[in-house]
Amino acid sequence: MAKNNNNHDEHRPDVGMYVKVFGALMVLTLVTVAISKVHLPRPQAIGLGLFVACIKASLVGALFMHLWGENKLIHNALYITVACGAIMILPMIDLAMVAHRITSPADVASQHPHEGGEEGHANSVTETIELPASAAAPAAAAKKPAKKAH
């Protein structure tokens, strides 16, 4: 039976580099906190915060976890994993876009405060279906209570 315990693939440590990375991580942490105190508008704040986080994560991953110079198999496994994660996230964004169709009427009203009018509007939870002319009177009566519920 194979008993090859003598082949090693551990990376040679470089203590000087570890100390430098530690310094960089500390600086970047303080930078992140400082940026957040500036209270940038939300999109820019998120973009910048994530950017700094990515740099920190890359330092830890590449240097502490020895991904830099690691076997290609590990790299490929990680590419596949990240691709898988990305596939998961993208359609979720659609969920965020359409969610207002399936949340409560109160939410819809607060998100569309200026929409009103006789006809049901697109994407409104309380949209009423236009009935044929003969049923116009009961339909009009049915519409009124629905609008009151807003």
Partner: protein, 576 residues
């Protein structure tokens, strides 16, 4: 078991180390086999109860009706809640406790290391842990029937908000977390074993198709299960700590406002659940396809048609399986553009599936077909899985899915692929590899009775479901006669039910055959099927360490009927 004893070398193993907490992949494989068969029978039993209610709604269940407590079956008549619990648990048990542990845990564990020429799995102790999380997880899942409120009753799909307020769900979620852990441990083991522990000369392109199938399956398990684990944690938080991950605002239940903070999204669960559950169905189907490939190659006495096509198709299925999940959610309200995206990917994934089936069918052409029991099951797989696959097409097309979604058509479709597809193939695998596990053959007469009875009964159960679905019969409906349009097709429910009970009866010869042959079956030589793959190049059953010395592989896995040779098969490890 918790420490290394490498220092002092070998010691005689205790009973517990040898048979209970064994780290030998063969013992673990057989543990998985027996356990998953038992769970399959349990799931089958639940379905048997449901089928009575479906065929004869409102009538007392014969024999067992009076055994159930009054809240489950008053006067022996099944209650709606009990029906829902049976339905949810039937699905859960069959998928997570039955088919996957059988296909991956049993067959994968036993056969994969042998077929690649390895002495065991890469992490034998982790292998043992994976079984010993599966069994307690399964028992916990079943124990939910005995808890206050009963078992989970929100479908195996557990959609919120219903699953947040229904009883039984917490235990389901906890059990799922444990079972997912077991799967992940297994997946890591399979991948490292396949990548690192192949015998010299066993390049990836010389691996049997079964090994490729297990490899792709393990990638799916590794990457797709964690999202369900996370989603289950969120659902547990909703139930136990009253968070509102999935509960929308201003929810009113039975006239009372829901007490949570609101702001959640029920659709979030659906996306996360199906992100796993779609790759999961390929986990259900790929290893059985691998088994069918092995049996067909062996019993046509010729190489498989399109080995590389088979492998690339399996890889393509694996990749695409992550991109089709929302076809289970076409009518959930997603934007049409997103629906179109998933429509296209679903149509694309049907191509490699058809390619695999085509290669298997073309493999029969020009072969010297041997009609033994494993081959019978492999041949039955082809048209029956074909029906399953074809009936999936109208479900993958958005427009027709609007009508067919949540009807019996869906149930017919997926049972054709999993039951007449996967389970038939797995049964064939039992007859095929039984001689390797026990050194004895299963009895042929009993086997043929089992084969014909099983295939006929299964078709009798699921074919009518396609008709009922086309008529518009809703699924998960406790009383089918409640829908007027079901009345003309209600007779099919009776056909399905009778077929189901016949199916149960026809498993008796199989169960008897299995256990009787273990001790009294006809003894077989090392390679009774005259096969070429490595699992047949060691004793039956293989000793610890499998091969006396590390095998060396000289050629591909399907060198049958090579011109100029005395025998019609050329074992992978034979030098000449």
């Amino acid at each position: 078991m918790s420490h290394d004893d490498h220092g002092h070398g070998h010691h005689e193993l205790t009973f517990w180390e040898k048979y209970v907490f064994s780290v030998d992949h063969k013992v673990i494989g057989l543990q998985y086999l027996i356990t998953s068969f038992i769970f399959l029978l349990v799931g089958f039993g639940l379905m048997g109860l449901m089928r009575w209610q479906l065929a004869f709604p409102g009538t007392p269940i014969p024999f067992f009706g009076h055994l159930f407590p009054a809240d489950l079956a008053p006067n022996g008549v099944m209650s709606g809640e009990f029906y829902n619990a049976l339905g949810a648990m039937h699905g859960t048990i069959m998928v997570f406790l039955g088919v996957v542990p059988l296909a991956v845990g049993a067959y994968g564990n036993y056969v994969l290391p042998l077929q690649i020429g390895a002495p065991d799995m890469a992490f034998p102790r982790m292998n043992m842990m994976s079984y010993w999380t599966y069994l307690p997880g399964g028992i916990l899942m079943l124990s939910s029937f005995l808890m206050p409120g009963g078992a989970a009753q929100s479908g195996w799909t557990s959609y919120p908000p219903l699953s947040i307020i229904n009883p039984g769900q917490t235990m389901w979620l906890l059990s799922m977390v444990i079972l997912i852990t077991s799967s992940l441990l297994g997946a890591i083991n399979f991948l490292v074993t396949t990548i690192n522990m192949r015998a010299p000369g066993m390049s990836l392109w010389r691996m049997p198709v079964f090994c490729w199938a297990q490899f792709v399956t393990s990638v799916l398990l590794l990457l797709a299960f964690p999202p369900l684990e996370a989603a289950s944690v969120l659902q547990l938080m909703d139930r136990v700590f009253h968070t509102s991950f999935y509960m929308p605002k201003d929810l009113v239940i039975l006239g009372k406002a829901y007490m949570g903070s609101g702001g959640g999204q029920p659709l979030l669960w659906q996306h996360l659940f199906w992100f796993l559950a779609h790759p999961e169905v390929y986990v259900l189907v790929l290893p059985p396809m691998g088994i069918v490939a092995e049996i067909i190659a062996n019993n046509t006495r010729k190489p498989l048609h399109g080995y590389k096509t088979l492998v690339f198709s399996m890889i393509a299925i694996g990749v695409m399986s992550f991109m089709v999940w929302a076809h289970h959610m076409f009518i959930s309200g997603m934007s049409p553009a997103l629906g179109n995206f998933f429509l296209v990917t679903t149509m694309i994934i049907s191509v490699p599936s058809v390619a695999i089936l085509t290669c298997l069918i073309f493999s029969l052409k020009g072969g010297s077909i041997r009609y033994n029991l494993p081959m019978a099951y492999a041949l039955a797989f082809l048209p029956l899985f074909g029906i399953g696959g074809l009936t999936g097409l109208p479900l993958g097309l958005t427009v027709t899915d609007i009508y067919l979604h949540d009807t019996y058509y869906v149930i017919g479709h997926f049972h054709f692929v999993v039951v007449t597809g996967s389970i038939i193939a797995l049964m064939g695998g039992t007859y095929y590899w039984f001689p390797k596990w026990y050194g004895r053959k299963m009895n042929d007469t009993l086997g043929w009775i089992h084969f014909w009875g099983t295939t006929t009964s299964m078709t009798g159960i699921f074919l009518p479901m396609l008709f009922m679905g086309l008529a518009g019969a809703s699924r998960r409906l406790y009383d089918p006669t409640a829908q007027l349009h079901n009345l003309p097709v209600q007779g099919w429910n009776v056909v399905s039910t009778i077929s189901a009970y016949c199916l149960g009866v026809f498993q008796l010869p199989f169960i008897y055959n299995f256990f009787n042959s273990m001790w009294r079956g006809e003894k077989t030589p090392e390679n009774p099927w005259q096969a070429t793959t490595l699992e047949w190049a060691c004793p039956s059953p293989p000793p610890h360490g499998n091969f006396e010395k590390t095998p060396v592989v000289y050629r591909g896995p399907y060198e049958y009927s090579v011109p100029g040779r005395k025998t019609d098969f050329w074992m992978q490890t034979d030098k000449n």
